[in-house]
């Protein structure tokens, strides 16, 4: 019986892999829990405006003050524990003098968290704890999908042709992501500086945070692993395949990977100018990041469904793939 779900942990996981998987699941779940709580506590902050009656305003400010402190208490473990892979990755790469997607993510968290913590301490100013929570939770969702896909592939045993495709496409995606991230980080710093110096210092932090969130190439990072795991799942569902069928599958995987890579770049190019002119709030940027990651995963899954449908094979995996949508 083939394992259809990438979310069921493979039986043959090593102890270290299993441990990592447990921690990733804990990080993901706790980040979502904290995110929902912090969003709730952030709500009074969005209600506040200067036109309110003075006594209402005073009451609301007291509530906001309390809720900011609770948000801070909840966000600290998110930043320290849930975002730990980001810190580890960013420091590791910076020590080696390279930039990957962890660097802008780490910068985005710092830029949003530190001013918010200061504003909470000082009792005035805007806080962005909800953006931090959403950013970390959505990022971990993408990472968890990627980890599940990778572990499912490892335990299933890899096909040579698909493996060769993975190495080549992975190198290409890494190169693209490097340039993309470098340019985006520069743009974020420039946009933040321009807002700070010339336009409106109060908006410099949200614009910079939104730009850093936008610069996270989660969707690009997922493009290759998700397609490769879809290809492996197709092979597992089909059982025995001929050389030409594998070649056709790799061809389809290449096409889907290209769609995912360039689609996510186009999406970022569309959103970045909007973020730079201040139209995209940090939390909107976080949602847009999640949507692009999910679109990439859905596209890979679509390929798996189509590939399984194109051949008529007995057995329930194919029947399951044909049923439904």
């Amino acid at each position: 019986m083939s394992a259809l779900s990438i979310f069921s942990p493979p039986v043959a996981l090593s102890a270290a892999d299993r441990h990592r998987r447990r921690h990733m699941l804990a990080r993901l779940g706790l980040a979502w829990l904290a995110m929902m709580q912090v969003m709730m506590f952030a709500f009074p902050g969005y209600l506040r405006h200067e036109g309110m009656a003075p006594d209402n305003l005073q009451l609301l400010d007291q509530a906001i003050f309390l809720m900011n402190w609770i948000s801070l208490l909840i966000t600290v473990p998110v930043v320290l524990y849930c975002a730990q892979p980001v810190w580890a990755g960013a420091i590791d790469r910076l020590v080696r003098g390279r930039i990957t997607m962890d660097v802008p993510v780490a910068l985005g968290i710092i830029v949003a968290f530190v001013p918010s913590a200061y504003a909470t301490w000082a009792g005035q100013g805007e806080v962005y704890f909800d953006s931090v929570g959403m950013f970390v939770a959505f990022l971990l969702t993408a990472r968890y999908l990627e980890l599940c896909a990778r572990q499912a592939v490892q335990s299933a045993g890899a096909n040579q042709a698909v493996e060769a495709f993975r190495v080549a496409a992975g190198a290409h995606a890494d190169r693209l992501a490097f340039w993309f991230v470098s340019i985006q980080v520069l743009l974020a710093i420039v946009a933040g500086a321009v807002w700070w110096l010339y336009i409106d210092p109060a908006h410099a932090v949200p614009v910079t945070v939104a730009m850093f969130v936008m610069s996270c190439p989660c969707a690009m990072a997922m493009a290759v692993p998700s397609t490769v795991s879809a290809a492996h799942a197709t092979l597992a569902a089909r059982g025995s395949v001929s050389e030409s069928e594998v070649a056709a599958l790799v061809q389809a995987a290449r096409r889907v990977t290209r769609q995912n890579l360039y689609g996510s770049i186009a999406w970022h190019l569309l959103m970045t100018p909007l973020a730079a002119i201040g139209l995209v709030a940090p939390w909107v940027a976080a949602i847009s990041m999640l949507l692009s990651s999910l679109a990439v995963a859905a596209n890979a899954w679509r390929m798996y469904r189509r590939q399984c449908r194109s051949v008529d094979i007995p057995g329930w995996p194919a029947a399951a793939a044909r049923g439904g949508a």
């Binding site: 019986m1 779900s5 979310f7 942990p9 039986v11 447990r22 699941l25 804990a26 509530a63």
Partner: protein
Amino acid sequence: MTASLLLLLPIALAFVVLIGGLFWWAIFAGQFDDTQSGGESILLDDDTPKSSEPSDHDKRDG
């Protein structure tokens, strides 16, 4: 209102910590380590009849 907030917000925080702690315990107790075999067990169980000998219960009745 501030007085009720001072009571309700710590309760909310306590619930978050409690639920987060339970989730943590469930993960590291291995609750999510095998999500597949539970569903498959109903398909894989051994349906062959055990033996033709009557059980103790049948003997007493017969």
